[in-house]
């Protein structure tokens, strides 16, 4: 579904559905934008929220777009995967911190539901070691630059060694990097061979600037 030769900007939405509808309408109609239903949005609205985002984005680009359901599955993955796939999600996430059995089951469920599987390596020191233990690889690995709860000006390193190691070993897996919030961060993310850059903070804080922000970020995406 995603082209490994392209770069993508994943924008996470967490405000109220009314606000998100307006924000999505302001986005440029680009095939390089992935729309994420953030974890708080999912927990607030459930699969109804995912279906709503799917519709808003569809209306904007005039065809079904790519929607990420940031479920952060930790157990009982299957019911959630099925539900969000039905609601129109193109991908779902599972925590790399969950039991290996759960991640294996999650990837299997995603394959059966024909959506992309994303394993979120939040708070994991060596994501590579998790991948080695899995029966099948996920479609996408999500790496983090830091903790959301930290202040934004704290130094956040791009996990470039992890990216190179994962790409070097498992060529076809896609890499997404979360936690870089400035255009400079996004440039570095792509320069370091990641395929997807995840951003949310500036959009969350100034929804009215959505169009300008997205335009600025999109310039960096080839």
């Amino acid at each position: 579904m995603l082209n490994p030769k392209s770069k993508y900007l994943q924008i996470a939405f967490n405000r109220s559905l009314e606000e998100v509808r307006d924000m999505i309408a302001m986005l440029p109609a680009s095939k390089n934008i992935l729309i994420e239903a953030g974890t708080p949005l999912v927990k607030n609205y459930g699969k109804k929220g995912i279906a709503a985002l799917k519709n808003y984005w569809w209306e904007k680009i005039q065809r079904p777009g790519y929607i990420v359901a940031d479920l952060k599955c930790m157990d009982r993955g299957s019911r959630e995967v099925e539900a969000v796939a039905e609601a129109g999600a193109s991908a779902a996430t599972c925590l790399g911190l969950s039991p290996i059995e759960t991640i294996n089951e999650f990837i299997k469920e995603c394959n059966e539901a024909r959506i992309d599987s994303m394993v979120d390596m939040m708070n994991i020191e060596f994501p590579f070691e998790i991948l080695q233990k899995l029966k099948k690889l996920p479609t996408i690995v999500v790496l983090h630059r830091g903790v959301d709860e930290n202040e934004r000006n704290k130094e956040k390193q791009i996990p470039h060694e992890q990216i190179h190691r994962i790409k070097g070993t498992y060529g076809k897996i896609l890499i997404s990097v979360a936690g870089g919030e400035t255009p400079r961060d996004v440039v570095r993310t792509f320069f370091n061979d990641a395929d997807i850059a995840v951003i949310w903070r500036s959009f969350y804080e100034s929804p009215a600037d959505t169009a300008a922000l997205a335009g600025e970020f999109l310039k960096l995406v080839k």
Binding site: T39, K43, N44, Y45, G46, L71, D75, L95, P99, V147
Partner: protein, 193 residues
């Protein structure tokens, strides 16, 4: 609602229910439960704690859960937000090797520590045991309540209570409504006295 009315029953809105229906799940359960019922929102917070706590509290939850594997900053923020919104904080220690090690790093203690063996895990590798020995270890060192999840038989409930657990979480037998739901709840209740 076939459950017996008992102040010793806590009603949990499970994680899949929340992710499928959102906070509406918590709100709807609150509406059909007896007045004053204790509702646990098993939100399993992993980041952005403040927003999740706020929405669960507003929906009527008496407590919310945060993952013990989450970054310490997230757990600290979760506990702080729970106090601000006047709900109990539960830390779910699923897939955490040492619950004590996590508690040691926190700025403030949560109200409840939940010991776990993952639901998926218990289906795929049945040899994994609920870490009963950790209950006394935790209660000996910290003034917190301990909940035990992942055991669903009467025998497991007995064992948890004998080992000093304060809360026993059951779900499998209640997953589908049946004519036995009420009887089942009563028999569990007898065990915890």
């Amino acid at each position: 609602m076939q459950l017996p009315t008992s102040e010793r029953i806590l009603i949990e809105a499970g994680t899949p229910l929340i992710k499928i229906y959102g906070t509406d799940a918590v709100w709807q359960i609150k509406k059909i439960a007896p007045p004053g019922a204790y509702i646990v929102a098993d939100s399993k917070c992993a980041d952005l704690a403040s927003r999740e706590v706020q929405m669960m509290a507003k929906a009527g939850a008496s407590s919310a859960t945060c993952l013990g594997v989450a970054p310490i900053e997230t757990i600290d923020s979760f506990i702080e937000e729970c106090q601000r919104f006047n709900i109990d904080s539960m830390i779910d220690m699923m897939n955490v090797e040492s619950a004590l090690a996590v508690l040691k790093k926190l700025k403030k203690l949560p109200d409840v520590v939940m010991l776990h063996r993952g639901v998926d895990e218990s289906e795929f590798s049945k040899e994994k045991q609920i870490p009963y020995y950790q209950i006394k270890q935790i209660k000996g060192n910290y003034n917190v309540l301990v909940a035990v999840a992942g055991g669903d038989t009467i025998r497991e409930v007995q064992r948890a209570i004998l080992n000093d657990a304060d809360i026993v979480v059951v779900w499998k037998n209640f997953y589908q409504p049946s004519s036995q739901t009420s009887q089942l709840a009563k028999s569990f209740l007898e065990e915890i006295k």
